[in-house]
Symmetry: C2
Subunit: 354 residues, 2 copies
């Protein structure tokens, strides 16, 4: 009798554990057999050593109805985004991505032309980022569309940056601005709801171009990795901001075994994001902390390297690493110290709520 049919045994719902809890449970007893495996599970990407060089590798899956809604995500954008999400993980290791594989499963409601649209987006991302599409799998599904992408890049071992490695007093830096992708999603969901009520309604997207682009056509910060090389700057730790700033800060804190203090007023939020957040009765900074899918980079640098990034419009110092006992906190505008909690987007919990 299979687990799925056994009604007597007591079972644990995955949503109780959440994605990170489940991953912890699955990976706790993993053994490595090869010295060439430099880094396995637990960072933005794995690292394998080949001779004098390392291969950095990361994989992500996008599932229809969980990660995207074809009611408002054009297939070409979706193909583009599926690649970006993975390139971002390679960039977060301080490595330039160079190859991907793309696997898709799709039901027979999709014609060949839909697959071509999706791949037009994949190939556009490959062109923009100079990525070789080297393989994949194409299969049918019973329902819906799934995309699984694996991205790779090559690096010297000493240039790779991990989530761990931050030191006390290191500065915490975020690239670009945050919260936009989350608000883009709110607008798309609002307009979908309006359209469902009245199919003659045209979507009202005026003034929302920036946040919609952040949601539908994000970019990976390969340019930042290139900047680091030019600046001769190696961050002490790094992670990409895919699940919301708060969740990523907690990862850095945990893996580096340190506390951290982040200033609310320093968190980079675009003025458009602030305005649109208000329309939704939200706080822009909360969107940055708990939204997701911005695909910016979060990293730490030694204070002695501060001059290298000073005045760089792509980078904002938002706080500093502190001793472990101080905890991971947000210092609010009115100087209150609030412990950071991860409300980041979690597909496994979300599924249970819906």
């Amino acid at each position: 009798m299979s687990i799925l049919e056994n009604k007597e045994q007591k079972f644990t719902s995955i949503s109780n554990l959440g994605e990170f809890g489940l991953i912890d449970q699955i990976t706790e007893d993993i053994k490595h057999y090869h010295k060439t495996t430099i880094k396995g599970v637990g960072d933005d990407a794995a690292v394998i050593k080949l001779g004098d060089l390392c291969q950095v590798i990361s994989t992500d899956m996008l599932i229809e109805g969980v990660h995207f809604d074809l009611a408002y995500a054009p297939l070409k954008h979706l193909g583009y985004k599926a690649v970006i999400v993975n390139l971002s993980d390679i960039c977060a290791m301080n490595v330039i991505p160079t190859q991907i594989t793309v696997s898709i499963a799709l039901s027979n409601r999709f014609p060949v032309e839909a697959v071509e649209e999706l791949y037009a987006g994949v190939k556009l991302a490959c062109k923009h980022y100079k990525i070789d599409l080297i393989g994949g799998d194409t299969t049918s599904s019973i329902s819906g569309l799934m995309i699984s992408v694996t991205a790779m890049g090559t690096s010297k071992e000493e240039d790779i940056v991990y989530r761990s490695g931050a030191k006390e007093k290191d500065l915490i830096v975020a690239t670009g601005d945050l919260g936009g992708a989350y608000l883009g999603l709110q607008i798309l969901e609002r307009e979908k709801a309006v359209f469902m009520e009245n199919k003659n309604m045209q979507p009202d997207l005026h003034g929302s171009e920036y946040v919609l682009e952040r949601q539908l056509k994000p970019e990976a910060r390969k340019d930042i990795v290139e900047m680091f090389k030019k600046m001769d700057l190696k961050p002490t730790s790094m992670i990409d901001i895919s699940d919301g700033l708060s969740s990523e800060l907690l990862h850095l804190s945990k893996t580096s075994d340190l506390g951290l203090q982040v200033y609310e007023e320093k968190i980079p939020v675009d003025p458009t994001v602030m305005t649109i957040a208000e329309e939704f009765s939200l706080n822009g900074v909360t969107c940055a902390l708990n939204g997701g899918e911005d695909y910016e980079l979060l990293f730490t640098i030694s204070q002695k390297d501060y001059d290298k990034i000073k005045g760089n419009p792509n980078m904002t110092v938002i706080g500093y690493m502190s001793e472990k006992n101080a905890g991971a906190n947000l210092i609010t505008h009115d100087s209150k110290v609030m412990p950071l909690t991860a409300h980041g987007w979690n597909s496994l919990k979300k599924n249970d709520k819906d």
Copy 2:
């Protein structure tokens, strides 16, 4: 308006193209930007160069309802098989696999214990084959279970064997025996149908152990790759037998731009497979040619290397490569020359039929 909603434009059904036709269409205009990409789409695995070594990489997706049925595939076996399918592709490049990533998407009908069962199978395969599980993704799905695995191995460039490379008069060799996995599937489907009719019926699996194991718990021929190293033998071309012997022979013929002649009486089929095939009014050799999922290796060697494999119980010479104009043929027991056709298992066509 999206492609999925546009009713006026004429669309092409994917099942008309089939998996290989769709892949050809998607990949025809792929450009490579990096000299380090030695081999992209079009073989069992892609090849990336890093310094003096190469990384060989392959990915496959298994979808519930298309590639497996949880009514008879135990989750642990499924996890094991998902790994094997991918290791087999690395072995088919003459490379020992060393690392995998495993991504799963699953609906909330699966408890944590089901995920643990699945990973118990993944980890068992990792233990048997000395594979490091280095990453993956865990997410929810709207319905069903999907598993996407990427496997990797490291090799010197000169040791890698491609599908292309066979020369005229080279011998064609198959490992193990064929057709068993397909018959295993027939038995499981028959017993499922019986059970659906009468839920008190116990499955009648007596005497079918071999073919059931071939279907539910296949193995990758890593041992063959190790034998090649010991024998100092490098095949001139190689492919794994995942879609049926016929389909794989046609791949070798096409990529090597040669004809080939295969003798029906030489095709290795286990006596059990012959007997069970008769129960289903099938021909054992037809199961070997058009069934799938045997995960044996098909390779060619120069005639001068014949002595190295002579008498090896794991390897059977089944034919030879011939000039292109002779075509790819099966020579039957009664010396008839039959052109080979690919009736191999095709998930994209299958979905349309069902």
